[in-house]
Symmetry: C2
Amino acid sequence: MARIAGVSQSAVSRVFKPGASASAAMRRRVMDAATRVGYRPNAIARGLITRRSNMVGVVISKLVNLNYPEVLVEITQRLSGRGIRVLLFALETEGDTAAALDQVVQYRVDGVITAAMLTGEQLGMLDEAQIPVVFYNRAPDVPAVNAVRCDHAAGERWLVGELVDSGHRRFSIISGPEDSPVSTERTLGAVEELKRLGVSDVTVARGDYGYGSGREGFSTIVGELGAPPDAVIAANDTMAIGCIDEARAMFGLEVPGDMSVVGFDGVGPSAYAAYQLTTVSQPVAQMSEAAVSMLTERIENPELPKEQRVFSGIPIRGNSARLANNP
Amino acid sequence: MARIAGVSQSAVSRVFKPGASASAAMRRRVMDAATRVGYRPNAIARGLITRRSNMVGVVISKLVNLNYPEVLVEITQRLSGRGIRVLLFALETEGDTAAALDQVVQYRVDGVITAAMLTGEQLGMLDEAQIPVVFYNRAPDVPAVNAVRCDHAAGERWLVGELVDSGHRRFSIISGPEDSPVSTERTLGAVEELKRLGVSDVTVARGDYGYGSGREGFSTIVGELGAPPDAVIAANDTMAIGCIDEARAMFGLEVPGDMSVVGFDGVGPSAYAAYQLTTVSQPVAQMSEAAVSMLTERIENPELPKEQRVFSGIPIRGNSARLANNP
């Protein structure tokens, strides 16, 4: 076929090898020749020979949290740049991993990046099948796993410290779904730092990471307290936005004039002029790159030790909280 | 292995066959037995025999448009419910399909759902490889393709009709990226309906579907006109939100008091209390189900004729436009 296309054999290989570079002109010449002779390399058959499928399973739960689409695109494009394809598993809830995991193993993916928690048993199954796993923003409580995460607790400590420093005393929290380890880490991080600073009476309403649950959460809080708190700490930006809208629209409150509201994630809408959230932004590009390189290194070299990389969130002062140290 | 698990052979098959039903207890019993005997069905090897990979390629371009994550999750979960996995291709721009398409063919996917435009040549390649394709929200200008789309032009006609009826005369448009057929259909739909209703002098600023470009687009428009128009038609909700924020924050305008702004899509933030967009919502659940069933029917039966399904958008009256007929 190289002869038909009038190019070298190595050029043909470059066109068909995932991740290898080939100019657009070269690609077209080779593909035209391939069409003429009916040649079609079969990535799956090749996978049976090399014992590589060149596919990575990515497991995410339902994207109520606006942060995940961005993560998914970052990870997919970075894997794609390395010639690796993404087999996507979108779960309804984070607890729903059993069926997805069976499939991951059956499809012989080379590795897994999961933004949903796995059980020790599921991890054992992947380990036995020699499929390396990288956890994204969570890590099960077992001795050694690969994980990339944002330091959610430290982010909450920053938010709480700033709020207490600025005179806030009565705090409420809108948490995320019960089965979200990220929500647990954020909520516990805030509660513990508040306790350390002498604030122990904190009202907590449970949300589901969605906008509506931020609105409802704030109503519930005011119902319980009989008055708005000084500050609301929401476990993500979307619920913080819902809380602000409810406070303004239904209670006539000014944010941050009458009450401070803070979020977490740094999603697009957090920067909308109507909200300008005081929040902690996750460094998604760096975290995605870390997850992809951590996984591909372990696909190449299964003997590498387990590793955890923890990234600090980026404090965003915004304009939804009355902070004493604001410029 | 059925003997070891103490269940029937057909129960074992049900556990391993994608999409077949098996109780959680049954699944665990069979998987435990499978682990003990080291049995692991190989979906890829099976694919070589059945000539099915049970994978569908889904092609999307960068998710600047907040509508796509929702579409992706809907499609993935619906395919998953049918025992089919999603091989994800996330393109940087819609024009960037060449390399992705080579991979789609190499991985022998059973079919493709694409929210990015393909060339006639690319379609021919898929056709030759007998891989059915369903276009999502776009259709190339060739005689016969499978496509599911929202009637963007009709949606714009509704918006324009309501605005003109309510006395708006000076119109501006913030369009989407040049390589987006959806933006072209929306923008042309609005321009033509305006012309039909006697409004031919329309300022158009080009955006990229992102929030910032909505803000910049509005500044550009005011710069060109020397004053704000009566109404801005944005090619998606995210730019409409940017436009509203710019009008309020930088020009001290009230929306809808001083100016009307309308969007398209019905994404989550369009319903935030600060915006409450007047927009047209895409029926994502119905469109996703239609795309998935259109594709799976053609995987089962390649002889089926090509088909196009067009869904009407859902008019949302919202509160970002002064409409005479508002309740």
